[in-house]
Structure formats: structure tokens, C-alpha cells
Symmetry: C2
Subunit: 661 residues, 2 copies
């Protein structure tokens, strides 16, 4: 069967960036550039022209960015997204008959051939363009056409003029334009989607009096402490009523004491469910007050969304069809046979009533968005259907495009990335278990230099209430510092669970286990945040360095460097115009002083091979003069296991006095 139009002669392939061929959106931040490349070609020797077309999803008109030819059938254009929301982009290409004509005409003129007929051919193309062009350009084109038809020595010069080329690029009649088979999608988020330092704490552990249940008011009193460390996001575990049936006791035991507070993730009790607040924390008004107070300290509150229910959750009675029934009439609790988690009822996403379930779960986000929350950390999203998240996140962001979703999918790569592709703004990932130089290098290259960078926003956490890695257990304070510096400088987003982190709590539940002993998940803790050995001051300094150095605000600009000691890792980052170049070196050995020679690519870093340059340690304010590509480094974990250098190039003043910029 013949195609509708057989004269579309340009083919367009391999458009990048594209996630799974365009099935999923790429992610950008307001103001970001997107550089689109495409393979485009036509049969024979005709010249073609290509353009990227892009628009806000709801805009009627495409904006066109002409593409530049890079050689070997590759074309490129860059455009910038300026607004929150969803953009579309695609590529068009067409045989450009005037460009072809002008290219060939120049060769004929140079060869001294008879050009009389060729001038007429060119004039025809110009007249055709003039007929469709707006008034002033139409007149200019008509004048060119006349000059060509007139012939004579002037005609060839007019035909090849830059003015005519530009007029024809704008108005040349495009026929049989080929469009790339797909319209690709960009989700544009706000800056916090990429850059931010997160701090997680349990509000109930913030009471002034040890052992008392902390309240939102207590948490407000803790805000200056969190803000003093320079964090951007304060993330709270679930704040809802906690079930009593099968409540877990301290250290995840099945035998709770009467006053054990239970796990905040066992959501729902007589007092309410996912839209209610635990009575001992305060009221909805208290919560809204907390949001304002946090904002006044430069902190944005992130809430935990865990779609599961305690047996006491109101949903269990109101919507029993949302849970799986067992033949004995009981409801199916969570299991990992032979383990039973009888305090948790998972939703049955295969329920016939799935439409109502989905809508209700969406309304939970909408409820908290209405209170002013814009960041959600989603618990175990990989245990709910992928299609559900793709729908939910798109729906929520259509109404509120500034909402950020952090995925806690500590699971296999295909599931972790599958959720990121379906809309999660950021993802926890395998950073906690990447501890050697080889592991860190390979993994960060995967996150920042492969196509993963277009859909998966990493958020690097050295610890969480569930994760106290063996590296932190055995490495103690130096390990905590090293992992803090790595998380804060390898990624634009990172977070810690405190005060366990800054107080270097490294006691595991048992040897070989990664859970904290006396985990805050099951009890109220009284942390001595003023302990003199706290990392509070260092954390504050690191976050200040992050804020002041734009090199740390991006994700794709990471570059590892050779250093001849496997315990030392070194990398640079820079901002777009390379006015801010940082060099981080970390000693991964928590016990011993390590030293070695680092080799830097001076030319790529904009440094002069014949001039010394200064590396200025922003952690200690120490300055070193370095010479040439190879320089000595030494780090002692008992002192400080990391350098965060800014590289300062040498500048000479008229007084011949040296400055480093």
C-alpha cells in the first residue's frame, strides 16, 4: 500500500536525549539548557535543514530552534526551559532547495560556467518564498528575484549574498517536511528538585524533657539547630496516629511495653489515618505553624508517605475491599515468609475497587499539599504498582508542578530506575554501600555520565533510620566525616538522618546487622545535641561551602582524577562558565594516614602548566601552592579525612603582585 505522502525525503533518527526512545520524560530544572542531537539525512546530494521544535505542553505554537550541522549526518540545537511544568520537543527536517541551489550555484560561478538558466531557477525559488512572506521581507525577496532574472554581473553577487540566504532561511517554502516519529517530553522542576541538603529527624524525640513525647512545638524549638547546620529540607517520618494492634516494641520486638510509642510507619488508629496527625505531636494548626516557622529558618518540610495501614486504620473498616481477605475471614497482613508483619496491612492493588483506592491515595497527597507541603519522601514505592505511580505523580504535578517526590526504592536497579522513569523526582540509591574508590567511581559515573542522568535524580544518604552501614559501624567518627563529605560533594542532593549521624551513633542491633541498636523507629530518644564531639559545626561548614560554590549545584559535571593510592579518591566539579572549580579529595581509610600524588588535567581545568596555582581548602582555610599536573596529598583521618579545595588560578596585577582568583 502506498504511503499517504511519498515525497517526504528526510529521515530523522536517534534523537537524544530520550529515555527508552521517548517513552518516558527527561528531567530538567527551570533555566536549564537541553541540547538535542539527531541523525537527519536525505537521499542524494540535496542540502537539508533541521530544527528542534519545543513548547510548553499547553502552548498552541511550537518554538523553533534551528539546528547546526555537526558532520556525519548529525545535527544539534540547544534550547532553554523557563517555566515549571511539562514541555514537549521534537525534530523537523526538510530538503532545502534554496540552500542546495545556492551551494551548487557558488561552484558553478567559481568554475566559470554559464549560469543564465541557474539564475532563473534560483529566482523561481525566491518568488515562491516572496509570495508567502510578510510585507517587508516579501518586497526584499521580490527585489532579489528581479535582480537574478535581470542577469548581468550583479546577479551572481546578489544571488550569493548573506542577506538573501537569511531571508530564504526564514521564508523559503518548506515542502514535505519530515517530523521525528515521536514528541518527547521534559518535566521541568524547581531548583530544590536537584540541589538541596536534607535532614531527617523524629519529631517525637525533640522534647525538652528526656522521655517525653516531643511535639511540633518542641520541633520548632529545634529548628534553629537544624538551620545552623545549613540544611534546606527537614524531612519528618510519618506524623500520623500509630496503630496499637500488634504494635512493635523496642528494637523491633513483638512484646511492647505499655508505654512504647510504636513505629510511625504503622499508620492509622482510632484517631485517624493518613490525613490525621498523631495527637501527641499536635494539631493540624500546629503543623501549619511548624511549616511557617521552618520556612522562616530557610527550611522546607518534607513529609513521609507510606501507603500501608496498621490493623487499626479507619480504612480497614471503611474499605475492607482494599485489603486481601483470607479464607478464614481475616485480612492478609504483610509477609516475607516465614516472617510475618502482623502490624502492617498492605493495600491489595488487584482489588476490583482499584479506581477508588487510587483516587483516595491521591487525595492524601492533595490533603498535605493543601496544608502547604511540597516535598514528599515516598516509602517503599516499589511495593505498589508502577502504573499507579506514573498516574499519581503526573496527576499531582499537573495541579502542583512544584511538588517533589523522593523515592525510597532500595531494591533492584530495574525497579529503582523504573520508578524514576515514571516520575519520581529523586531517588535514594546504592550510595550507602559504595565505599571503595572503584565502587564509588563506577557508580557515580553511572549516575552522572550515562543516560541515567536524564531521568534519575540521585539523593545520597550515608545513613537512614534503617541503614547503619558496616563502614560507619567500624569507621566511627572519621567514617562519618568521610561519608558526609562524599555525599555532600558527589551529589547536589544529599541527606542525613540525625542527630544519630552528627553524634556518630554507630552501634548496630547485632553484629552483621545494619539496623541501629535502640532504633528511634521504636522508641523516643533523647539526643544530647550539644555534645562537644558532635559533627554539627563541620556539617554547617560543608553546607555553607555547598551553598557558596555553584559547582556543587549540578549533577552532570563530575570528573574523577587519578591518584596513586586506592584509599584516596579525588574529583572535580565546576559550574557552567567554569568560574568555580572545586576539587574534593577524601581518605576512605578511617584508620590510617594516607598519602599519594594526584594527577590533574591542567588544560581542561583552565590552568597554566607553567604557572603555580593555588588550592584553597574551604574546610580548614589552608592554602597550598601547586605546580604542574602532579602534586602531593596527605590526609589523616584522626585530624580530617577530606579536603574540599577551590582551585584558584594565578593572576598578575600591574604591581606584579600575585593574586589567586
Amino acid at each position: 500500500m502506498l504511503p499517504e505522502e511519498g515525497r517526504t525525503r528526510v529521515i530523522i533518527e536517534s534523537v537524544t536525549p530520550a529515555v527508552d526512545g521517548g517513552r518516558f520524560p527527561i528531567k530538567r530544572i527551570v533555566g536549564d539548557e537541553t541540547t538535542v542531537e539527531a541523525v537527519a539525512l536525505t537521499d542524494g546530494h540535496d542540502a537539508l535543514s533541521c530544527a528542534v521544535l519545543y513548547r510548553k505542553e499547553d502552548a498552541a505554537e511550537w518554538i523553533e530552534a534551528p539546528m547546526e550541522f555537526l558532520g556525519n549526518d548529525l545535527w544539534q540545537a540547544t534550547f532553554r526551559v523557563q517555566e515549571l511544568g511539562v514541555y514537549k520537543y521534537t525534530v523537523h527536517g526538510w530538503v532545502d532547495h534554496f540552500k542546495t541551489w545556492a551551494r551548487d550555484f557558488a561552484k558553478r560561478v567559481q568554475a566559470g560556467q554559464d549560469i543564465a538558466v541557474d539564475l532563473q531557477i534560483g529566482a523561481r525559488l525566491i518568488v515562491e518564498a516572496a509570495q508567502a512572506a510578510p510585507a517587508p521581507d516579501a518586497a526584499a525577496l521580490a527585489a532579489f528575484a528581479e535582480a537574478l532574472v535581470a542577469g548581468g554581473p550583479e546577479a551572481a553577487q546578489q544571488a550569493l549574498s548573506e542577506e538573501l540566504a537569511q531571508l530564504m532561511a526564514r521564508h523559503g517554502v518548506r515542502k514535505f517536511t519530515a517530523a521525528y516519529a515521536r514528541e518527547l517530553t521534559i518535566v521541568v522542576d524547581r531548583e530544590r528538585a536537584r540541589f538541596g541538603a536534607w535532614y531527617e529527624l523524629f519529631p517525637r524525640s525533640t522534647a525538652a524533657t528526656p522521655g517525653q513525647h516531643g511535639t511540633f512545638r518542641d520541633l520548632e524549638a529545634r529548628l534553629p539547630y537544624v538551620a545552623s547546620m545549613g540544611f534546606d529540607v527537614l524531612y519528618l517520618p510519618p506524623i500520623h496516629p500509630i496503630g496499637v494492634a500488634f504494635r512493635k516494641g523496642r528494637n523491633n520486638t513483638m512484646t511492647p511495653a505499655p508505654d512504647d510509642p510504636g513505629s510511625p510507619w504503622a499508620i492509622g488508629a482510632a484517631e485517624g489515618g493518613h490525613k490525621s496527625i498523631h495527637p501527641q505531636l499536635g494539631t493540624l494548626d500546629d503543623f501549619r505553624h511548624l511549616l511557617s516557622a521552618a520556612a522562616a529558618h530557610g527550611l522546607e518540610i518534607a513529609l513521609d508517605i507510606a501507603f500501608q495501614c496498621s490493623p487499626d486504620h479507619p480504612y480497614v473498616k471503611e474499605h475492607p475491599q482494599w485489603f486481601r481477605q483470607r479464607p478464614d475471614g481475616t485480612i492478609q497482613y504483610a509477609e516475607n515468609p516465614p516472617k510475618k508483619y502482623q502490624d502492617i496491612y498492605p493495600f491489595d492493588f488487584e482489588t476490583a475497587d482499584w479506581r477508588a483506592l487510587w483516587e483516595e491515595l491521591k487525595s492524601i497527597f492533595e490533603f498535605w499539599i493543601a496544608q502547604g507541603v511540597r516535598i514528599f519522601r515516598v516509602d517503599n514505592p516499589h511495593t505498589k504498582p508502577f502504573a499507579f505511580w506514573e498516574w499519581l505523580i503526573a496527576e499531582v504535578k499537573r495541579a502542583a508542578p512544584d511538588v517533589i517526590f523522593l523515592s525510597e526504592a532500595f531494591t533492584r536497579p530495574a525497579a529503582l530506575y523504573g520508578l524514576a522513569k515514571r516520575g519520581f523526582t529523586q531517588s535514594y540509591n546504592y550510595f550507602p554501600w559504595r565505599n571503595t574508590k572503584w565502587e564509588l567511581t563506577q557508580y557515580l559515573i553511572e549516575l552522572t555520565q550515562t543516560e541515567v542522568k536524564d531521568f534519575c535524580g540521585p539523593n545520597l544518604w550515608p545513613n537512614t533510620p534503617d541503614i547503619l552501614t558496616e563502614y560507619l559501624q567500624y569507621g566511627g567518627r572519621p567514617a562519618h566525616i568521610a561519608r558526609l563529605v562524599l555525599a555532600a560533594t558527589l551529589g547536589p542532593s544529599y541527606g542525613i538522618y540525625g542527630p544519630a549521624f552528627e553524634l556518630c551513633d554507630n552501634r548496630p542491633l547485632a553484629p552483621g546487622r545494619e539496623e541501629y541498636l535502640d532504633s528511634e523507629k521504636y522508641e523516643i530518644k533523647a539526643w544530647d545535641i550539644h555534645r562537644p564531639d558532635s559533627l554539627r559545626g563541620l556539617i554547617g561548614r560543608v553546607n555553607q561551602i555547598r551553598h557558596e560554590n555553584p559547582a556543587f549545584h549540578a549533577n552532570h559535571n563530575l570528573r574523577f582524577h587519578d591518584i596513586d593510592n586506592d584509599q584516596l579518591i579525588a574529583f572535580t566539579k565546576s559550574n557552567a562558565d567554569r568560574t568555580n572549580e572545586v576539587l574534593v579529595i577524601v581518605n576512605l581509610d578511617s584508620r590510617y594516614r594516607q598519602s599519594g600524588f594526584i594527577t590533574l588535567p591542567l588544560e581542561e581545568l583552565g590552568l597554566d602548566d607553567h604557572q603555580p596555582f593555588q588550592v584553597h581548602d574551604l574546610l580548614t582555610d589552608a592554602r597550598y601552592l601547586w605546580n604542574g599536573p602532579r602534586n602531593y596529598v596527605e590526609l589523616d583521618p584522626r585530624h580530617l579525612p577530606a579536603h574540599i579545595f577551590v582551585i584558584r588560578r594565578k593572576a598578575r596585577t600591574e604591581q606584579d603582585f600575585d593574586y589567586y582568583l
Copy 2:
């Protein structure tokens, strides 16, 4: 907006093989296996099952091949295509509730838990399956369900029986099955599409009397010669009437002598066009007789299809709208400004009458197919629209799936591969200009080990009437032998243009040019095919070796090996069951003896590190006993610049007498 069905919980991604995500078909030969892999997963901890579905395009029912779980969310199945034509395949996946239940049930039993309720849950799933199963299996399932409900010590054993697992794998009720987003396509060709030795000659140069215009009858007399060299395909340049207007003279000059025959590619004259035969070659009856005579010699005739016209072609008068008109009323001839090719009128594929043009061009293939031709070599397909070829090849092969198209797209990679993706069975490629070890290795890996292997069938030509490479010019006879062996052993399909090749004609038109001097394109040649220095005997031996050793019949099984001399290249190939393992070593230096040590991966080759093995040179019948992975090789271009070894493993008989198999 909610999806139609939100309970489809399995996601299926990254299905391979797939060309451009499934936009284009993969290619296979009748009897080939296709191993499909997919990433498939579901939320949570439920077990899933996956299957590849495949069918002949016009078959009503899918055939299902269960997929095996390879770990890390990767699934795999292999199936075989048995018929010529077009196949479809895709992947399905579903949450397998019985598999989940049985896995968990086994753990509960092992942990000694109460399983009463779980037996009932399992029984429910079995009853559900029994209701949909055919009679004997339904009864068996019902019996299992009863046994489970009955409980007791027998029940658990029955529940975990292999028989029940198999019954449930067949009949378990599948709900919410996920289908991969795309149905992928396979084009299945006959064996000659992959494996064949081609020989190109000009029929007009086959007359017994030098200087006379050869005929199809003369060509028939030449068939035993071609067959004696073991070729499979005899490819003829265009056999149509040749235009007289602007006819080219000898050596591509603009001043032909009255008796110059013209280029066969200047198609069309008063005697007819693309469906006519040059009167001096013979009649259509003669041509059909030639086809039969060739077949009797084991040779299949391939015709050249060149979609362009001489100014004398009947189309020019009958369909002037198929050509571009210039303002002076003349027809636009082919150009590469400032060069003019006034003997050639290209078709204007932007004509408003493109539908009629396409249909007419298709009818040219149909005409020759009706005469019995099944192989076409297409001249410069990259100067006609890509969409045209995609349509034409699909249409032609729908009626005649045994037709083979060879693309002569000596152009940029995106165009060469773009045409292969759109249906060309085989492609000329850059092999003529890949002469060093590094070049050959990189390029052949691209052709045989990357996704290119799924859509682009290479046909390797050391020379063509247009291509006499500098390597052949300067290297003379040893270079011809080396390139012959490389072409014939690196690829299952290869070809030579003779007798220029076997007679080692290496005179270029001028220094720095790649055209032959006194090119056969513009004159009738009288070749002395009986010259004693002809490569005829060697070529015959090489083609015999190719036929007798199935390792040479495949394309993906190429493996290069380390040899410590850059002038020596070494590679192995083997057949599917590894009963035929060949090792080719070529000296790329046409002047000097070269020697070195080759290192072979003995274990991968099925050889014993502690036993000698034999390499048997099929060119010379020499046999060498080799020991261990490193062995010495020496090749002298003045003698023979290549080994084609078959590797013979040692076998011990009951008489303790050594054989090599």
C-alpha cells in the same frame, strides 16, 4: 485520567533483539534461532511468569515460548523461525499467584508454621484453574484441590508436587497480563541471503572473438569457468539498451568513438528501457535460457537495477513529468557541480506523479522476477528516497519472499545502515578500505558483534568495476590473494569483479585514482582467462573450503585473536555445535615475510591445554602440531600470504593411536 486497567502490575522493558526499538525488523534465515531477552518485573514480592509470543505474520494464533529467569529481572527464551516471510514477536508477563503461593508455602512448611489457611488459599487457585482447563487436566487439578482442602500430612506434599506445578503453569488463570508495548518484526530469508560467493562480469566481454560484443550465448559458454571457481551467484551489470545521447567514450571521456559501446548504466534507448534487453546481448528467450543454464551449473543470476535513465530512455518521452524540467525547457541531467553527467537523467521523486513512478519502478522488479530472477543488486539506492525502498522491498517480498536485495550504498554510515534497516537484504560496505589489522578488526566487530548484525547483512567485495583500491594497486598479486581470503572468510557473503580480479589487473586510471584503467564500464574487454598466473585455481579452492566448512556460513561467530605482529591478523569461526572450528591467519604485508606468535583461548576453543592439537591448512594441506596457547606462525607473500586452518582436536583410540578430528 485513570487508565483503562490499573491492575496490570508487570512491566516489560528493553526487549532485544530490536532495531531502533522495534521500528525496523531484524533479519533471520530459515531455521535460525532468535534469543529474546527482556527486563520484566512487578511491584512487591510476587512471582511473575513471562513468555515470548511469536507467529508468522498472517497466522491467527501466537505460539508461546516460556521464558527462563536469568536473575536481576532479566528473562530469556529462544525460538526458531521455519518459514520464509515475515514473523512477529513480543513478550507477555503476568503476576503468577500460584507460583508465588507455592514459593511461600514451601517456606512456611519448612518453618513448621500452621498451614491450614494457606492450604485453602492454594486450593482456591487450583479450583479456579480447573474450571478453565480441558477435561483430563481439569480432573487432575480438582483432585489436587480436594487433597489440599482435606489437609493432613499428605496435603503439603501434594501442594508442592512437581505435577501440580506443571499443571498450574499450563492452566493457572492469568489475570492482568502485561504485553510489551510493541510487536517486533523478523524478516526471514533463504540461506543465500546470508551465505554465498558472488562473481560479477560484463556479458559483452565474453565473446570468443576479441573485440566482438558478447552475447548471452557467449556467457553460457563462460559458465563452466565461473562454476569451476565455486561461485554461487553470477551478477550481471545492467543488460538493457544503452543510450546514445552524450554517450561516454573509453576511460569515461566525453568524446566516444562511433563504435564505443557506452556504459551499461546509461539505461534506455530507442530499443527500450528497464524491461528490455540490449539487442546485442540477445532476446528475452536467450536470457531465460541463460538462467536455466546457469542453474544447471549451480549458479544463480543476479541482475543490476539502476533507477536512472539515459536521455534516450522511452520514459523521457512517455513520462516527462517524472523528470525535473529546467526553465529553458530542457530536462535536468545529473550533476555534482561543477561536474555534469549529461548522459544520465535522474528521476524526480518530488514529482506530483510520484505514485505512478513508484508503481512503475516496482513493476521493473516484478518483470524480472517473472522471468525467474530472484537476486537484485541495486545501484546507488541512497540517491532515491528511503521511504520508497521501504515500501518497494516490502511489496516485492510480500509476493516473493525469496527475493534478495543487495544495496550498493557506498555512502555515509547513517545512509548505508538506514537502507539496510528499510529492507535491503545485504549491503556493500567499507570493507574495500579497511586494510590494516586495526581497521579490519574494528570494522568487522561493528558488523558482526553489535546490533548491526541484526539488520545489516554484509557482502564483502575486495574490488568492483568502480573500485580498485590503492592496496590492490600497490600490492599486486599477494594483495589480491590476501584480500580474497579476508573477504571469503571474514564474511559468509563476498564477491569479486572478474576476470579483472583473478587476473590481478592493478592498473589505475591515473595515480591517486581508484578507477581501473581502460575500464570495462566503457569498452568491451577480451580477458585471457587461461593465463597461468590467474588466481582461478586458488579461488576455486577457497570457495570449496567455504562450502565444506559450515563455520564459514554464519556471520556472528567471528572472534579475533592476539598475534604479536601488526601485519598478521588472526581469527576463528565455528558452527553452532562447534564441530567445525576454523582459524584464518593472513599476512597483510604484500611485500615481506612476517612472523609472530599467536595466542589462542584454548578452553573456549574446546582444546586441552595439556594435549597437542593439529592445525590443518586447507589451502596447502600442510598440517602442524601445536602445543599450548602460544604458537609460531610465518607467512611469506611471495608464496602464499594466508593460512585457512581447520583445528583438529586429538582423539585416542583403543589402540592408543592418535587421530585428529
